[in-house]
C-alpha cells in the first residue's frame, strides 16, 4: 500500500488535504464519524419530536420562539459555512494568509451564533422554561444544547489550529487538519438547517 514516502512532492499538490495516506485516512475516518453523528442528532431530533407536545402546563414552542432571531442565527451560520468554503479554496491555491483570514471569519461568525443562542436560552429561562420544567423543555434544551456544544467545540478547535499554524505555511500535515475542521463546521450547519426547520418553523407553524 502507498506508504508516506511514496508521495515525494513538496510542491503544492492539487488536493493537499488528501495527498498523504495519513491525510486520506483522516478524511475518510472523519466522514464516517459524521455518519455516526447523523444518527446521534437523529436520536435527539426524534426525542424532541416525540416529546414536543409534552409541555405539562409550562410554556410551549408557540409562546417562546423568536422566529426572527433564529432566522438571523441561521443566516449567520450559513455565511460561516461559505467563509470556510472560501478558506479551503484558498488553501488549495496555496495562499496561507487567505486561508487564515477566511477561517478567522468563520470563527467570528460562529461566536456570534453562539452568543445569540446563549441569549435565546437566557430569554426562554426568564420566560419560565427551565431545563426540568417539562419533557418539552428537557428535549428542546438537550437537542439545541448539544448542537450549541458542537459549535463551541468547533470554535475552540478551529481557533487552536489557527493559532498553532499561524506562521507555518500550508503543509502536508496541517492541510488535512484544516479540511476536517471545515467538514465538521459544514456538518454543524447542516444539522442547524434541520433544527431550524423541524424545531423552530414547525414549532410555530405546526
Amino acid at each position: 500500500m502507498a506508504e508516506q514516502q511514496a508521495s515525494t512532492y513538496e510542491q503544492l499538490p492539487p488536493n493537499p488535504e488528501t495527498a498523504t495516506l495519513d491525510g486520506r485516512n483522516k478524511y475518510l475516518g472523519f466522514w464516517f464519524f459524521l455518519g455516526g453523528e447523523t444518527v446521534l442528532f437523529g436520536s435527539l431530533i426524534g426525542t424532541y419530536l416525540g416529546l414536543r407536545a409534552g409541555t405539562a402546563d409550562g410554556p410551549g414552542p408557540a409562546d417562546l420562539f423568536h422566529l426572527d432571531l433564529v432566522f438571523i442565527m441561521t443566516m449567520i451560520l450559513l455565511t460561516s459555512s461559505l467563509t470556510s468554503v472560501m478558506a479551503i479554496i484558498n488553501m488549495k491555491r496555496g495562499s496561507h494568509k487567505k486561508l487564515l483570514g477566511w477561517m478567522w471569519g468563520t470563527v467570528i461568525l460562529g461566536a456570534a451564533f453562539l452568543g445569540f443562542e446563549i441569549y435565546e436560552f437566557y430569554d426562554y429561562y426568564q420566560q419560565g422554561l427551565g431545563f426540568g420544567t417539562s419533557a418539552f423543555s428537557s428535549a428542546f434544551y438537550a437537542l439545541v444544547g448539544t448542537h450549541g456544544a458542537h459549535v463551541l467545540f468547533g470554535i475552540l478547535w478551529i481557533s487552536t489550529l489557527l493559532i498553532r499554524y499561524r506562521n507555518s505555511g500550508i503543509t502536508l500535515t496541517n492541510a488535512p487538519k484544516f479540511n476536517t475542521a471545515v467538514l465538521y463546521w459544514h456538518f454543524i450547519d447542516v444539522v442547524w438547517v434541520f433544527i431550524f426547520t423541524v424545531v423552530y418553523l414547525l414549532g410555530i407553524g405546526g
Binding site: 514516502q5 495516506l21 475516518g29 436520536s43 426525542t47 409534552g54 487552536t160 498553532r164
Partner: protein, 610 residues
C-alpha cells in the same frame, strides 16, 4: 522525524504507551478475558441461588445487581473486547498492512474501554452495583436509588466511546490500508464480517450515547424525558436502547461468523463455499439488523401493524443466516476434515447456533411473543445464540490464532476435554431453560416456590453451569502448560490467508515487504500455483511506523475522573477531569508526531535472524 527507535526498554511502560495493533489486540484479549471471568463468576453465583426453590444464598437486591452486571459485563466488557482483540491483531495481517489507519485512536479506544469497564465495576464497592437489568428500562432505572445506575451510565458512556473509535478505525483500515491486489472481494471473510460489524458500531452506538445522555440528564440534572407526569414518555428509552441494542447482537455475531468462515475452510482443506454469497449475506444481515429492533418491544403496545412489520422483518433475517449455515455445511461436504480443537468449536457451533436461531424465529411471531416475553424461554434463546455463536467463535479463534499471536500452540488433548465438557455443560444449562420458560418461570427472578415444578430443571441447569466453569478452568490451565509447544507455529494449520505468511509472533512491522495479492485465499494460491511464498509488492526499504505515546491513557483517565464528578455531582472534579482530557487532546493536536522510520539495515538484520 527521527529514524531512531523511540521505544523504551521498560516493559510496563512499553505496554502502556504502545500503539502497535498486535499489542493492543493482546491487551483487548487480556482485558476482555478478565471481565469474562468476572461475568462468569456473577453467573455462577446466580445459578447457585436458583439451584433450589426459595434458596437463601443471595438476597434479592444482590441478585438484581448480579443479573444486571452479568449482562452488561458479558456484552460490553467481555464479548466485544475479545472480538476487538482478534480484529485488532488479525485484520491488518489479513489485508497485508503494517498497522491500522489510526494507531493512536486504536490505543485510545482500548484504554477507554478498560477504564469504562473498571469504572462500572467500582460500583460494587461504593454502595451497590446497578440493579435495573442490562437494558436499564425507565422508570425503574430513572427512579433507582443510590449511585449504581449512575455508574452504569458513565461507565458505558466511556467504554462506548472507545468502541465507536475502534469501529471507525477498522472501517478506514480496511478501506485504505489493503495491500496491492487485495480488492474488497479478495478479503478473507473475517475481515469482511468485522468490516460490516464496524459499520453497525458506527450507526448503533450513537443511539446508545443519546439514550445514556438522556437518562443521565434525567437522573442527575432534573430532566423530564421519561417522567410521564411532566409530559415524558418511557417508550423513548426502549426505542433508543434497542436501536442500539439489536445491531449490537449482530456486532457480536458477525465477527464470530467470520472466525468460523476462516476455521472451517482451513480444516476442511477446501475453499469457502459461496464466498460472494457469504459476503452479501453478511451485508444483508447488517442491513436488516437495523430494521428489526422493535421486536424486543412487541408487548409495549406499539400496535398490531407495527408489530407485524417488525415480525416479518425479523423472520427475514433467517434467510441470509440460513445461507451462511448452508455454505459452511457445503464447505465441509467432501472436505478432508481435521478435528482439531479449533474446528471442533466450529462444528459444535453449527447445531447449537441453529437451535438458537430457531427459537429466534419463534420469538419473532409477535402474537406468540406475548407468551414468551420475559420468561426463561428468552433467556435460553439468547444464550444459545450468544454462547453457541459468539463464545464458541471466540474459543475457535483462540485455538486457531493462538500460535500466531503468542508463538506456541495450545495443548490439543486439554483442548478437546475443554470442548466436550463445555459443550455438554452449555446444553445442560440452557436447554432446560426453554421448558422452564414455557412452564412460566419469569426471567430476572431471584427465587421461585417449592410447588411450581421448577426445581429439578433449575438444578440441572446449575450443574451444567458448573461443568462449563470446570471446562473453562481446564482452558486457563492449558494456557500456562502449553508454552513448550513452540515448533511449527508459523503456519501450523496449513493456512490460507496472509496472516500465516508472517513469523509467529509477527515482527512489529508485520511485513518487511508489503505482499502482492494475486487472488482469493492469497497464501493458498501461492502454495498451489506459485512457489509457496508471497510475491513482494515493493522493494526492501525504510519502513514508517508510528511513535508510542502515553496520551491515550491520560485522555481516558481524565474522562474517568470526570465521570466520578458526574456520579457524585462534584463540579470541580468534572472540570479537573475534562481539563485533563481536553488538555491531552490539545497536546496531541498541537505537538505534531510524525512517527519514525525503521532503517532498511535493521529490517535486513531481522530477516537474517528470522
Amino acid at each position: 522525524m527521527s529514524t531512531a527507535q523511540t521505544g523504551s526498554k521498560n516493559v510496563i511502560w512499553d505496554w502502556l504507551t504502545t500503539v502497535d495493533h498486535k499489542k493492543i489486540g493482546i491487551l483487548y484479549l487480556a482485558g476482555g478475558a478478565f471481565f469474562f471471568v468476572l461475568g462468569g463468576i456473577e453467573a455462577i453465583l446466580m445459578r447457585i441461588q436458583l439451584m433450589f426453590p426459595e434458596f437463601t444464598f443471595l438476597g434479592a437486591q444482590t441478585f438484581n445487581e448480579l443479573l444486571t452486571m452479568h449482562g452488561t459485563t458479558m456484552i460490553f466488557l467481555a464479548a466485544m473486547p475479545l472480538l476487538f482483540g482478534f480484529m485488532n491483531f488479525i485484520i491488518p495481517l489479513q489485508i497485508g498492512a503494517r498497522d491500522v489507519a489510526f494507531p493512536f485512536l486504536n490505543a485510545l479506544g482500548f484504554w477507554l474501554f478498560l477504564f469504562g469497564g473498571l469504572l462500572l465495576n467500582v460500583s460494587w464497592f461504593t454502595g451497590g452495583a446497578p440493579d435495573a437489568g442490562w437494558t436499564a428500562y425507565v422508570p425503574l432505572s430513572s427512579e433507582s436509588a443510590g449511585q449504581g445506575l449512575d455508574y452504569y451510565l458513565l461507565g458505558l458512556q466511556v467504554s462506548g466511546l472507545g468502541t465507536l473509535i475502534g469501529g471507525i478505525n477498522f472501517l478506514v483500515t480496511v478501506i485504505n490500508m489493503r495491500a496491492p491486489g487485495m480488492s474488497m472481494m479478495r478479503m478473507p471473510l473475517f475481515t469482511w464480517s468485522s468490516f460490516v460489524a464496524s459499520m453497525l458500531i458506527l450507526f448503533a452506538f450513537p443511539a446508545l450515547t443519546i439514550g445514556l445522555l438522556l437518562l443521565m440528564l434525567e437522573r442527575l440534572f432534573g430532566g423530564q424525558f421519561f417522567a410521564v407526569d411532566f409530559g415524558g414518555n418511557v417508550i423513548i428509552w426502549q426505542h433508543l436502547f434497542w436501536i442500539f441494542g439489536h445491531p449490537e447482537v449482530y456486532i457480536l455475531i458477525l465477527p464470530a461468523f467470520g472466525i468460523f468462515s476462516e476455521v472451517i475452510p482451513t480444516f476442511a482443506k477446501k475453499r469457502l463455499f459461496g464466498y460472494s454469497a457469504m459476503v452479501f449475506a453478511t451485508l444483508i444481515i447488517g442491513f436488516l439488523g437495523f430494521m428489526v429492533w422493535a421486536h424486543h418491544m412487541f408487548t409495549v403496545g406499539m400496535g398490531p401493524v407495527a408489530n407485524a412489520i417488525f415480525a416479518v422483518a425479523t423472520m427475514a433475517i433467517a434467510v441470509p443466516t440460513g445461507i451462511k449455515i448452508f455454505n459452511w455445511l457445503l464447505t465441509l461436504w467432501g472436505g478432508r476434515i481435521r478435528f482439531t480443537t479449533a474446528n471442533l468449536w466450529a462444528l459444535g457451533f453449527i447445531p447449537s447456533f441453529v437451535m438458537g436461531g430457531v427459537t429466534g424465529v419463534m420469538l419473532a411471531v409477535s402474537a406468540a411473543n406475548y407468551q414468551f416475553h420475559d420468561t426463561y424461554f428468552v433467556v435460553a434463546h439468547f444464550h444459545y445464540v450468544i454462547i453457541g455463536g459468539v463464545v464458541f467463535g471466540l474459543f475457535a479463534g483462540a485455538y486457531f490464532w493462538w500460535p500466531k499471536m503468542f508463538g506456541y500452540r495450545l495443548n490439543e488433548t486439554m483442548g478437546k476435554w475443554f470442548f466436550w465438557l463445555f459443550l455438554i455443560g452449555f446444553h445442560l444449562t440452557f436447554f432446560v431453560q426453554h421448558f422452564l420458560g414455557l412452564l412460566g418461570m419469569q426471567r430476572r427472578v431471584a427465587s421461585y416456590l417449592e410447588g411450581q415444578g421448577f426445581g429439578d430443571m433449575n438444578f440441572v441447569s446449575t450443574m451444567g453451569a458448573f461443568l462449563m466453569s470446570i471446562a473453562f478452568i481446564i482452558f486457563l490451565i492449558s494456557i500456562f502448560t502449553s508454552k513448550k509447544n513452540t515448533e511449527n507455529v508459523n503456519d501450523p494449520w496449513d493456512g490460507r490467508s496472509l496472516e500465516w505468511t508472517t513469523t509467529s509472533p509477527p515482527l512489529h512491522y508485520n511485513y518487511p515487504q508489503t505482499p502482492l495479492v494475486r487472488g482469493l485465499d492469497a497464501f493458498w494460491l501461492e502454495k498451489y500455483e506459485g512457489d509457496g511464498r508471497m510475491k513482494a509488492a515493493e522493494p526492501l526499504g525504510d519502513i514508517h511506523m508510528p511513535n508510542p505515546t502515553i496520551l491515550p491513557i491520560v485522555i481516558s483517565l481524565g474522562l474517568t475522573i470526570a465521570s466520578f464528578g458526574f456520579i457524585y455531582l462534584v463540579y470541580w472534579l468534572i472540570f479537573v477531569g475534562l481539563g485533563i482530557t481536553f488538555g491531552a487532546m490539545f497536546i496531541r493536536s498541537v505537538k505534531e508526531d510524525h512517527g519514525h522510520h525503521i532503517p532498511v539495515d535493521e529490517i535486513k538484520r531481522d530477516l537474517e535472524e528470522g
